[in-house]
């Protein structure tokens, strides 16, 4: 993820006398959009240094060996490279020089944008070939290697009598590891992805295999819950290799109901009512007209399309459907035959993901269900003002929170991403109860408790990774 590293870099940069005059936000902008006219040469140098070598991981032993090499515990000879590769590896990394470099995992698919401060000429791990999925007979859990694609897990779970209830709100072709190394927005109606992770198999900064959390059971009463505390920042503390994820049993029958709404206020009222009903639902996926056109080009798009996935017995489903019809009152039309984005063949999913990926995403806005219509209207108005077509994907939690991922039909350049992020942040600040939780928004935050928490996390990272191997912090 790199948030901690970016935050640390900015904290230290504002201490530089030449930059201390510059307001924090202006510095973040300059770093993010690479405005080299205002940045000192040293900082530009830091931003230009990318990972020197990419290693395609096939086995966790390779990662362990790499960590030990970076720690100076083993020689590069033990990597077992050919003479040519060996020379390349040593030259690129500059092994033998007195400079720190570390390991960083490469996300398979990034929803938003890359980190600001890259790994400084270290090693980038590519997990695309580390993609096994293992189910246990009789237990509703899977051990998923970080390179395994979410879609494969979803399909194979169903084939093995389970169900992965967490789906990506923005249906991109994510790997499971993108939840730790990137920003994959997996969620179900009942909770965020973190609540489905029992444990992580990791490599520690000392090259040991270390299991954070548990595999077969939840983590209660075992001292500090590092697994959920580090959450999306886990890859800055250790190197996650596999996740033990909790699945649901496959229901006897499943159904996706599609409701079309022509008005944001009606949609918001329906969401509020739905989340107060206590109905057990697998997931709720929402698209506005722009998103619906991308996902389902053949189906005429309404202002808002709400797809609700339910499971249970055949008789139970009928009762649930009736109850949902009443709860989502105000819908313009309803259908039971519109395919949902997730239960389609893998090729079709990938193809749709490619279309979705073309838009520019800036991150997530969390807001109370009742505020959904207000936010959607403001977003549309903002798009008109910026002359960029906007749209949104959203999911709903039973807690009454809606996760909205706004997007813009505009080229993916960092200046545009920054300015649009700023705009979305302004919109979110005007909607009661809404909060923009993108990485940039975290960097902007100057709230004292938040800064204190980040500082504690930074100290914890330095305590766990004393060897400075896992995405080491960089100071200007």
């Amino acid at each position: 993820m790199g948030l901690l590293r970016d935050w640390h870099y900015i904290e230290r940069a504002v201490e530089i006398p030449a930059l201390s005059e510059m307001i924090r936000e202006a510095l973040i902008r300059a770093l993010f959009v690479r405005d080299d006219r205002v940045l000192p040469k040293d900082l530009i140098g830091d931003l230009n240094r990318g990972p020197a070598v990419t290693v395609k991981v096939k086995d966790d032993a390779e990662v362990r060996k790499l960590v030990r090499v970076l720690n100076g515990q083993e020689s590069t000879v033990s990597l077992g490279l050919s003479a040519e590769d060996y020379h390349y590896f040593r030259t690129r990394l500059g092994v033998g020089r007195t400079r720190e470099f570390g390991l960083v995992g490469r996300p398979k698919t990034l929803l938003t944008y890359d980190w600001i401060v890259p790994e400084q000429r270290g090693v980038q791990l590519d997990f695309s070939s580390y993609a096994g999925i293992e189910f246990t007979e009789g237990a509703h859990r899977a051990i998923v290697q970080v390179g395994a694609m979410w879609k494969r897990l979803y399909d194979e779970a169903l084939g093995n009598g389970h169900m992965a209830p967490f789906v990506p709100t923005v249906p991109l072709d994510f790997a499971i590891g993108d939840a730790f190394y990137g920003d994959a927005p997996f969620a179900s109606y009942r909770g965020d992805f973190g609540s489905y992770v029992n444990g992580l198999r990791t490599i520690s900064p000392y090259g040991h295999r270390a299991r954070v959390g548990f595999e077969e059971v939840a983590n209660n009463g075992t001292a500090y819950d590092l697994l959920h505390a580090t959450g999306p920042l886990a890859s800055e503390f250790f190197i996650p290799l596999s996740a033990a994820v909790r699945l649901d049993p496959k229901p006897a029958a499943r159904k996706t109901l599609t409701y079309a709404f022509d008005d944001g206020a009606k949609t918001a009222a329906a969401f509020d009512k739905l989340t107060r009903s206590g109905q057990p639902i697998t997931w709720v996926h929402v698209t506005d007209a722009s998103a619906a056109k991308i996902l389902r080009p053949a189906v005429p798009a309404e202002a808002f399309t709400v797809q609700v996935s339910i499971g249970g017995t055949a008789t139970g489903l009928a009762a649930k459907e009736k109850a949902l019809d009443a709860l989502l009152a105000g819908f313009k039309s309803k259908a039971a035959d519109v395919p949902n984005p997730f239960d389609v063949p893998a090729d079709a999913y990938r193809k749709a993901a490619e279309s979705v990926e073309r838009s520019l995403f800036v991150g997530e806005v969390r807001l109370p269900a009742r505020a959904f219509g207000d936010f959607a209207a403001r977003l549309r108005a903002y798009g008109d003002q910026m002359a960029a077509r906007t749209g949104l994907y959203a999911s709903i939690r039973e807690t009454g929170t809606v996760s909205v991922f706004p997007f813009f039909a505009t080229p993916k350049d960092r200046t545009r991403a920054y300015d649009l992020s700023k705009g979305v942040n302004t919109i979110a600040s005007k909607v009661p109860g809404a909060v923009f939780v993108s990485r940039l928004a975290h960097l902007w935050s100057e709230e004292s408790h938040f800064r204190r928490r980040m500082d504690l996390l930074r100290r914890l990272k330095l305590e766990i990774d004393t060897a400075h191997v896992v995405q080491p912090l960089v100071a200007p």
């Binding site: 077969e216 500090y224 996390l457």
Partner: protein, 506 residues
Amino acid sequence: MASLDYAHRRLVNTLGPERVARGEFERMVYSHDFASLPKIALLQWRLYPDFVVLPQTTGEVSALVKLSDESDLQITPRGGGTGGSGGAVPNRGGVMIDMRKMSRIVGLDAENRTVTVEAGATWKDTADYVESKGFALPVVPTNGVASTVGGAINSGATGFGGYRGGTLRDAIVSLEVVLPDGSVLRTASDRDAAGNFANLTPLFFGAEGTLGIITKATLRVMPKPEAAKALAYALPDLETGGAFLKSLVDAGTMPHHAVLLDRDHFVFQRALRSDAPEPMTIVLVSLQGPKDEVGDQEKTIDDLASKGRGSKLPSDVAGHLWDARYENYGARRLSRGLMVSANLVPVARLPEAVEKAAEIRDKLKLNGAIQAYLVDSTTAVLAPYVLLDDTRPSGGTALGFVKRMGDAAFELDGHPMGLGLFFVFNLRKMHGNATTFISSVKTVFDPRKKINGGKTLEVWTKYTWPGLRAIPPPGMAFGLEVAAILRRLKPTRDRFVRAYESAREG
């Protein structure tokens, strides 16, 4: 170190004389938690605090923490004292902070579906308050009558409603915590913790009060369910009971709570109250939700029960059992003491786990009952309890049961719950190579080990001399293993309840 009299004066100046106690009786009350300990433990630890204080505000807690810099006295925070691993008892005396005077319900935010409470409020009071406003807590710890909000969070508790409502960790929006330097921290954003990358709440969930003192909690609430119904099924034996619980998960049902209570539990209940149900193995299922769904689930569960050789009990029996759900350990009155061993085990191995618990209980010649309930689709709590008399020499040996149960939980790919003062030897077995990560957390938050030091990660003794100041965790494990061996050598089974023995012999 400043003198105790000086420390007393400073404490009285901070809180007033009526909220600072140093009498023998008060100190004795706070020298143990729910677990019964033999007196021999006093050779190892100074379990009596030097002072007991009762703060009423976050500011006072902060002042007390800062005072300990002057007095150099250890601080032990305490809620309802319902834990059983020594997390809330002192090991070197010091200042015991009883949080129960901070029991206000600060307010309910109906729009955002949250309730903010002070850490000393009990779960039952909080649940009742929330219910009176048309809402419900997603999960309430099983000992919710006495367990405080801060206490249960510190012990990483599970409870009623968790299978449907989610874990207690997920039910916490944010915490207000006094850190070891006396500063006050909010552990997450109040607006939406889950979306915030810097959410430190999980670090305090299960921390046993070793990172700071929780003073307030903002919890999620959910609308009160439309319908609620309790169902009870009699099962032929423990193993089928365990299999029935597993079948509820496999069939995709969503009970609010499902618990297995073995027949011995009802033998004890019968010895206490004539209106207790006939002794038999019972699975109690609570359903909550929309009316249609409750009806549909009941049908599904009835079918599963009949396939699993279970018979449905009358609804008044089920209702009575559900109403009495918090009165779980009344059997303590039969024997002076009681020890609960809480463990998490995989649902997939639940039938095997309950059998194993019964086997250990019988091998150690103890009187006890097996209980298990569902936490989520992978996890169940296995929480057998045994009776003991800590005034007899053989009483303390019953502690060996908890050690053996913990070992069994590891063998079953689960883990025991709670480290506290007595079970620190399980830390490495739980976390393996990640133990060093866990220790780092304490180093960052409390480098001087001021708050609840010498627990969870290490076992301090009352002595401060080098070589004697701490017990190596394997030493504690060895001691409890010896206790288990002594139990096995005991020629006769405990006889706390005559009916229990005759039922077994019959």
